[in-house]
Symmetry: C2
Subunit: 532 residues, 2 copies
């Protein structure tokens, strides 16, 4: 039970956050009154209804991706101050409509934008590849002087960060403007958007649907274009699931190619399970490349001894990709919109001249889900639950339900289990290795999840994403089509075409470990085909 | 106790091996009679005395490195048959003088050489980067139809290999000639050269000294120039220690950059400790690059799902390296010849214009030795010792003495220990990270071992090499100078300048994880300076 003392701290935290939203940016109360996690409403419609954005602000936040904006910023066609102000305002509205933010840094962001505009005028050159661009951050990133509660009630008593996460230092050195931190679900180990500190983050496309998670706020914010570039983290789908559910692009690199050092405390040091990885949320495929490439070219391993010293490689764009297609696994059947999107993507890719190879005997996804579950179950101390208990928090239902007994039953977390996981993983990777080898795949195309966004609390086991964390294979998601209740039939016990109608759909693109460059190249190529 | 039945199998094995040495290549008995593991004799002197090699054979085996020989082979200036015959003969003599071989494949090698010569004549091009060159292999590599006993008595009953190790396939595809497999110490977990199947491998520079190990036979064979290029493996120093002790070059890459798949069974699958890695033994720095680069450019990850998909990078040669120098650790004091060689190397490098930076506060080597010991102690089943027990083998004294209680006492191999090792390793790596960062190091120069070669059984804990396995940092060794009883004083309880007189000395060059290319580049640069 969360005590009244903690409840008071929660109320103060929310009030403090909201106080950073200027009154001129407040969504009218007649709109705010309609917003709740069961509302069948689109944040885009509500934005229009609010009439808060000027046409210039709409143009800035909706017309371009980060790459285009950075071009304008570098050539001083548009000032960082104007871009930053527009995104601060749109993020403020996103917060009010979807509850996606944890920390608001608008004043600092606007100061920083002015400084960057002056720098460009004075020096005649940019500060770096992100010069003047507002970049959003998942709450786990530490920004000096700012909080990082991760939605843990007990973390409300943690002091503000004394130093930046390494990725934050690198973004700042490269000229980025930091303006918001974004929400996460309780413990970050579920693909949902609820925690007791900040409440429920909602999907901008339909408030009654989950944004998924754990980079829930990034998903909602970038999906709403309150940000065009954000940094999230992924240990089982936490970048890709919310990107897909919210209609955005996302990329989970090979672990530790982006610098993970100095994130807020979560898993104790020494964790032998699946390694989390940072990665971009974006509104275009090329922006995934932009973020990953710019950071890797900044040599993160020089600053972070946990980062892989694997340099960026330019890979030539292929006009004819060899794409393996894995449409669905029988143990985790995909819903009709997911299946339709993938089939449509395959047709378009074929028509565009790519070689598409349907996998006839793919390895079992259940094997990966079980191995993934076992690999996340290696903490006999249950450290994460201790953080909850410190403030009397109970696990939310979605967290309690996450690991069905069938996936991990009969296992004991001990040294023999690590040997067994390692051996099973090696065998399982080899099963995929044989396919990659025999089919000579550039990349694999598969679902990014069993479903589109579903009602809050119902996302379930992210089998189609955790498999690639287990294998440490880089993978991206590309939004494509949306659920259509007239096409995506039939309804079943676990699938209601009306409930998910208009939810974004997408596909996942997967490459071999360390072939991040190839995955990004293929993602750009495939996204272009799908956009035609 | 090894039973008479097993003793008989051992005798048969040795006789079978020796039967592959043609009588014309036999070392005269008056020389053979002098050979034993306490003999203060040089195999080079005995070779001369034997008068077995023609001047042409001496020229072929002593004048060039692999790179030069491959140039002659590719341009048909010299045939593979002539090169192969010369190295078979010299390897046969090496075997008789130092007992370095386990399997002899001369007939197949000569057939293969003929085939390659025909191929070149017919096709007008080489089969690949190793066209026609004899390459030696540590006994762990599987060659179809050949045995791989690893010196385990119980492995004498294993059938010959049914398929090649992946590295073997790649070498063959690249045109290599395989002609010998080389000896290892009991269990491969010590830097010595003795096992009950093949007996004692001796150091060619001085038979009474250890060749070190576990790539003992590679060290002795390449040190004797019975091979100019070999493949060994290293989990704690097993390539570098024998290379140094036998006056050769060696390189331990980042784990799994060379394909490890399908080695003979040793550590059971799933091992969570330090990962072993393959690497080259050579007679020049550029040959280390040659082997590593050629294999990595062959994309081992396409054949071996455990190999890192990290492509070869060309790194520009630096005329001015920034070299950190770590001369010695107080807990593992180096002997006078090691110290003198390092000091002399530093002077030469300074004189050649390189920036040399003495580390004033290096991390503790004892921390690494303890962590290394703990990381090799994660098998409660003691699988390695079970392999010995199967044939009644007792651990040899050097193996029993390897892990002093002080290094691992009070530890239990369990899940908590893995967390603890991981966390301690991360902290320890960060200690080195700070140094690399602050000193902006290209590479680190340090001892490759506490001593030169010492009497058999006395090599001890390879702290100066296992540290880089623990951290997974690529590291090479470069032979430089030799022990000199008139210079390397004073004698101490554990150091006798007369015993080690004339033993080869050398230095170790270390780079950050995955910076294999930088280490190889620096090794070439430094070796050139030291050769002046």
């Amino acid at each position: 039970m969360i005590s009244p003392e903690w409840q008071e701290l929660i109320a103060q935290k929310r009030a403090a956050r909201d106080s950073y939203i200027p009154s001129a940016w407040r969504v009218p109360s007649q709109i705010m009154d309609k917003i709740h996690p069961e509302a069948n409403l689109s944040a885009f419609d509500l934005l229009k209804e609010s009439n808060l954005l000027t046409s210039r602000e709409i143009e800035i936040t909706e017309s371009w991706d980060a790459t285009a904006l950075l071009g304008f910023l570098a050539s001083a066609k548009i000032s960082s101050l104007e871009v930053t102000a527009a995104f601060c305002k749109r993020a403020a509205i996103a917060q009010q409509l979807t509850n996606c933010l944890t920390e608001i840094l608008f004043d600092k962001a606007l100061d920083r934008a002015r400084l960057l505009d002056e720098y460009l005028a004075r020096e005649g050159k940019t500060m770096g590849p992100f010069h003047g661009l507002p970049i959003s951050l998942k709450d786990t990133m530490m920004v000096k002087g700012e909080y990082a509660t991760l939605g843990f009630v007990s973390y409300l008593k943690k002091p503000p960060a004394e130093e930046n996460s390494v990725i934050v230092d690198m973004l700042l050195d490269a000229g980025a403007v930091l303006y918001v931190k974004t929400n996460v679900p309780q413990t970050l180990f579920i693909c949902e958007g609820y925690n007791n500190v900040f409440g429920q983050t909602m999907n901008p496309h339909k408030l009654c649907l989950t944004p998924s998670g754990s980079s829930s706020g990034e998903g909602a914010l970038v999906g709403f274009r309150g940000s065009v570039l954000g940094v999230g983290s992924d240990i089982g789908g936490s970048i890709r699931a919310p990107s897909l559910c919210c209609g955005a692009f996302g990329f989970k690199p090979t672990a530790n190619r982006l610098p993970y050092a100095k994130q807020q405390a979560l898993i104790p040091k020494g964790w032998p399970g699946i390694m989390p990885t940072l990665g971009p949320h974006a509104t275009s495929a090329r922006d995934l490349t932009l973020l990953f490439k710019s950071i890797v070219q900044g040599q993160p391993w020089v600053r972070d001894s946990t980062a892989q010293a694997v340099a960026w490689r330019d890979v030539p764009r292929k006009s004819k990709l060899r794409i393996g297609v894995w449409p669905s696994d029988p143990d985790f059947p995909v819903t009709p919109p997911v299946s339709r999107a993938l089939a449509s993507a395959v047709e378009k890719l074929k028509a565009a001249g790519h070689e598409v190879k349907l996998l006839t005997q793919p390895p079992s996804l259940k094997t990966a889900a079980i191995l993934g579950g076992r690999s996340l179950d290696l903490d006999p101390d249950q450290s994460i639950f201790k953080i909850l208990a410190e403030a009397g928090e109970e696990p939310i239902p979605a967290l309690r339900e996450l690991r069905p007994d069938e996936l991990v039953s009969g296992r004991e977390a001990n040294l023999a289990e690590i040997w067994s996981i390692n051996a099973d993983k090696e065998d399982y990777r080899e099963e995929w290795g044989r396919i990659w080898r025999e089919e000579k795949l550039d990349v694999l195309l598969c679902p990014g999840g069993r479903t589109t966004a579903v009602p809050h609390g119902k996302y379930g086991v992210p089998a189609y994403t955790i498999i690639w964390n287990l294998l440490d294979f880089p993978s991206s998601v590309v939004p494509y089509l949306q659920a259509d209740k007239s096409l995506d039939l039939p309804a079943t016990e676990n699938y209601d075409p009306v409930v998910v109608d208009k939810a974004p759909v997408g596909v996942q693109i997967v490459g071999w470990r360390f072939q991040d460059e190839e995955v990004l190249m293929a993602t750009e190529v495939i996204a272009e085909v799908l956009a035609r």
